[in-house]
Symmetry: C2
């Protein structure tokens, strides 16, 4: 039997990955959750049919969503991570010795349970004593916080299904209020080549509440139509995006790659209608 | 009727693009040649079932294969381009006012004819008076040249079929001989994430004849498993890969993106077993 996982990148582009085994399939209150063993990328977490992470290249996404904001911030002691049920982002956040507390807010407990069982390389740090876990809606959680965090990392799925409310102007306003005055936020945003409208709308919505908004990019093999975009926002105007600290033993992030990630090719500036 | 072009990225990953129309299909002496209209990427040139270029993002590949070597070279007057039957690389090479002559060597005349008809945006500069066209085997052509060129650009298909001999130690030795003492060569090499062995072998083979070999990268949406690699080689030891000149009105290449393209993430250094 040949098994192929078909992923719809756009209405007109599909990616198919050969699957050796389906290890888990279930339906939570929020979404369909699956774990598959793929021949090319190793084990993959699939939510509502969309590949979230793969063992072979997960480190690129997780290093870039965590280390870019946290090395720009002068002293990130208290970090809020929304989503990130697989644990990969938490693992990277905890590599910063400055970090004293990570509030991890994930709406779907099944994603955490499945990740603990099938992705110990990612979820292994979820029990670290610095991590405070909240199984709840990130939108509601953020509304109730004021000047509480140095950094907020939005590591959600795409804005369809449970994550939709995390991509709104109202939510970004609440996130700005939940940050301390020099707080930084980062949002995973997707491939601009396929989703220019989405990325423009995230950028514009964040601009309403933050004086500095910047895009940065990474090349992630499992996510098609590279590069993949992140949106960084700072409550204090930010002149310099250079990292303030080094980190050892990483596989993608370096201080040079961090700086280069903020370069926006002219065609993307035009496509996204940004100056930055 | 739904038409999908299926491309085999590896034995375990396929990409499918929705096709509105097949505009041309033929078989030359060397390969199957097709032109299709795709919904997502516009018109695409397909050789032996592999997408070579698409109207929507061809400029990324063509700018990066041409402008990186030509802006590093102090004065590129005579340039040899091998392959490049669609004309996109020639169009970019001719943007350098220093360039007085382009020798264009393509083995398959059908690719040029089809590109003239279906890709005027790419092939439009093939009739420029600075271009000297040779329909012949690049391997044989290069063997007969000595200290003739400032730059050689190998814009071939992948090393299966007609381009196979362009990826050998013997060919790179001949290419070194065909270059002037400060000559520079660039080779399109593919995605390292899928083809690490191929890129290692190109790198090692080139090292035999050139004192400086460097990898550089670009994110090209139609080529999966980003980033995509190019190998640059210099006959004179090269300390600095910075561009010596600016170029206006490009859509991907900028002096900053040029420099950043040479950054190799730690995992790729390890995967490719290179220090650079």
């Amino acid at each position: 039997m040949e098994l192929w996982l078909t992923e719809r990148e756009t209405d007109h582009v599909l990616t198919k990955c050969r699957i050796d085994r389906t290890l888990y399939q279930g339906r939570s209150k929020y979404q369909h959750v699956a774990v598959v063993e793929s021949r090319e990328y190793g084990r993959m977490l699939v939510l509502d049919g969309i590949v979230q992470t793969s063992i072979r290249d997960e480190f690129i996404y997780h290093e870039m969503i965590a280390h870019v904001p946290l090395t720009i911030h002068p002293r990130p002691e208290k970090v809020l991570v929304i989503g990130a049920g697989d644990g990969g982002t938490i693992r990277e956040v905890l590599k910063h010795p400055e970090v004293k507390r990570v509030c991890h807010v994930e709406i779907d407990e099944m994603v955490i349970e499945v990740s603990r069982q099938y992705f110990p390389e990612l979820a292994g740090m979820l029990d670290d004593p610095r991590v405070e876990q909240h199984i709840t809606d990130g939108i509601q959680y953020v509304k109730e916080q004021t000047a509480a965090f140095d950094a907020i990392i939005i590591d959600s799925s795409d804005p369809l299904g449970p994550a939709e409310g995390l991509f709104t102007e109202a939510f970004y306003g609440d996130a700005a209020k939940a940050l301390k005055p020099d707080g930084i936020m980062v949002v995973q945003a997707g491939p601009p080549f396929y989703l220019p409208k989405l990325i423009r709308s995230i950028y514009r919505a964040i601009e309403k509440s933050f004086p500095t908004v910047r895009l940065y990019f990474a090349s992630i093999p499992t996510y098609s139509a590279a590069p993949y975009a992140f949106v960084l926002a700072s409550r204090r105007p930010l002149d310099d995006i250079a990292p303030r600290r080094e980190l050892a033993n990483l596989r993608y992030w370096t201080p040079e790659i961090h700086r280069a990630a903020f370069l926006v090719p002219p065609f993307l500036k035009e496509m996204l209608e940004i100056d930055g």
